[in-house]
Symmetry: C2
Subunit: 394 residues, 2 copies
């Protein structure tokens, strides 16, 4: 059989880094490579109770039947209300579409906005999962310069902003860097978007995970007309539910809806009913989110201490204020992908930086995920990594 694949499928490259990281699935590897949330933060009791409540009531028929492509209406109403309160804005239920995880939101954004060779602005570095979704629609990436405070709006050329299909950003505790976009940068980006009719895709899976609970204004509140906001239950409930949502104005939602329908008809009813049952309980999230912040914040502190204890002075890293990742910068002459091979031979893994750049210009950085590794293993793993790096310092 000679298969006749689409150009899209033919152009897919298998990831060498994914191959390297496959070995890290062994139990005896200390892995800082993955992006999994901590199972210690899953609300097991509430999930069990919610599943019971759905399956033992008349809700069971709705939870098992086909449902609307927009999503389960009570869940959409709850989200509208949650966002309206949290972000002090007015979000209506018609502006919300439930998706099968934020990854599906990224695919639907690509479907709705991208033709071949369209320009897309991305942070430097940026989230690899977003690139994988957008790549299906063959865009041209324009990398936006970034520093400790996130992307730099002034570095965006106005002509590029006017002609790009959208700018993709994770303003809060970005994947891979853990950086948060500063307030003044948010304001500058919102102004730039308004001036240039630029669509902002605001991906916010980690937004609730600021360790101090001090949320900065979301882009969709600063430039509501221009922004498509992506929310997720993966980091505040559990990723295995695959539940996320898109917030956008009605005109955009009306274009998304038939594409969502063509993509998977609708997100599973059962997981939507269970999630609604959990989050609609009095104060559930206002009790639960501080627990996640506590777990994640203390592991972050612990890893920062280990880094300070073991790393040579030529290595630097940031101090995240939330989320799941620390971004480490090595001297320019050290290649992080080569380092990974050595680290794996000593049973430690991380995500090498080059994966996260659209133009692969830089490979002396690495991403460390700290939330799923117990403290004693964080200490051991960072020491091993530091010893390997020291061997390469000259």
């Amino acid at each position: 059989m000679l298969w006749k694949f689409s150009h899209r499928a033919q152009s897919l490259k298998s990831s060498t880094i994914r191959e390297i990281l496959k070995v890290t699935e062994q139990a005896n590897v200390i892995s800082f490579a993955g992006g999994l949330p901590s199972p210690d933060a899953f609300p097991l009791t509430e999930i069990r109770a919610a599943a019971n409540a759905v399956l033992e009531s008349n809700d069971i028929y709705g939870a098992l039947q086909y449902g609307p492509s927009e999503g389960y209406k009570p869940l959409r109403l709850w989200i509208a209300n949650y966002l309206s309160q949290r972000d002090n804005v007015t979000v209506s239920v018609d502006e919300i579409l439930i998706v099968t995880g934020s990854q599906q939101a990224l695919d639907l954004i690509g479907k709705t906005l991208l033709d071949s060779n369209d320009k897309v602005l991305v942070e430097t570095p940026t989230f690899i999962g977003a690139l994988q979704s957008f790549n299906q629609y063959n865009p041209q990436y324009v990398a936006v310069a970034s520093d400790e405070d996130g992307l730099i709006p002034d570095s965006i050329d106005d002509e590029v902003a006017r002609t790009a299909k959208f700018l993709y950003s994770i303003p809060n505790f970005q994947n891979p860097t853990g950086r948060r976009l500063s307030l003044s940068r948010r304001q500058a980006l919102a102004a730039k978007a308004k001036q240039n009719n630029l669509v902002l895709i605001e991906d916010d899976p980690y937004g609730d995970l600021d360790y101090q609970g001090q949320r900065l204004p979301a882009l969709y509140t600063l430039a509501p007309e221009n922004t498509v906001y992506l929310g997720s239950f993966s980091k505040i409930l559990a990723p295995g539910l695959r539940l996320g949502y898109i917030v956008a104005n009605r005109q955009f939602i009306s274009k998304l809806l038939p594409l969502k329908q063509a993509s998977d008809l609708h997100t599973p009813s059962l997981t939507q009913y269970i999630a609604y049952q959990i989050v609609s309980k009095n104060n559930f999230l206002s009790d639960h989110i501080p627990k996640i912040r506590q777990i994640y914040g203390s592991r972050c502190q612990f890893m920062l201490q280990s880094l300070a204890k073991y790393m040579p002075q030529e290595v630097s890293w940031n101090q995240p204020e939330g989320g799941m990742f620390i971004w480490v910068e090595l001297p320019e002459y050290i290649n992080a992908t080569e380092l990974l091979k050595e680290a794996i031979s000593q049973k430690v893994a991380f995500a090498p930086g080059e994966t996260f750049y659209v133009h692969s210009e830089k490979n002396n950085c690495l991403r460390l995920a700290f939330v799923t590794v117990p403290e004693e293993k964080i200490d051991t793993g960072i020491k091993i990594l530091a010893d390997i790096i020291k061997h390469h310092i000259h």
Copy 2:
């Protein structure tokens, strides 16, 4: 804000029929329009027990965490074993990819195989949901002539077969016609595919629902190299789980996988764990499927009797041997979409035929779904429909 949508999104037309059918969601409408499976056939007890078993055991961590894009391995192994036994073939776990309902399989097939203007062969009439998925990739449809025995392989031009990207078919109890492709046509289609390097997409959501339990050989057993088989749990467990699977050779699966990953990362872990827990119980499906056949078969018989009792002799319909649909043919001068408006004003609904044709050549047919309507309402609804039709007979 001036949105810059993709050509894909711009070319979407809103469906007038969907608008007409929106009113049928009212409780007092007798609707033969939808394609919902009957909630009477949901295995409620087993679903409750399975959810409990998953959530009360250590499985809960897997069910709530990110999982592999291929799907939950025990479920894939179970499917490989089920198909191997049912269809007397050898299916390996590497040939199976779990998807978020068969609708996602159709989207992934489009992504993997279709470039703009590629030829796709479809039955006449064909499943509208498949067209919605494929339309996203802008194919050219070639309608294959069909009759009571399903599509007619001899009518397919060899040159068209050689140059088409694939042929899409529902061989068992097709949506919308309820027709089953005969054995000799299956053999002829398999031969045609092999001769012409033609990919067959075999969509089989209703395959287990033959009322007599006499399965005909699947295309993927007759032309294994050429066929991509789509299975679904929607009609044998419950559609709200959104669980389906793709069976294809490893080369094809390896092209699908990164596109699946880019589309929603993976199908929800929770629903996969629950489904596995149900189907892996001793003989569950061999006990449960006959119950569904019994419910669906007796409702089909009942509707056939009502049609015979009330319809004028100018109207004809088929005698389905399985599935959820009867296909009714009116005299050519009666337009089914116009008829629908009248029917709705009298609180009865059906799906008008024109929706299911790629070239809209025919609109004197209609699809009747019988499985969700109680018997007394089937009788009332068919009588009302027959009276309306009689008014148009001349």
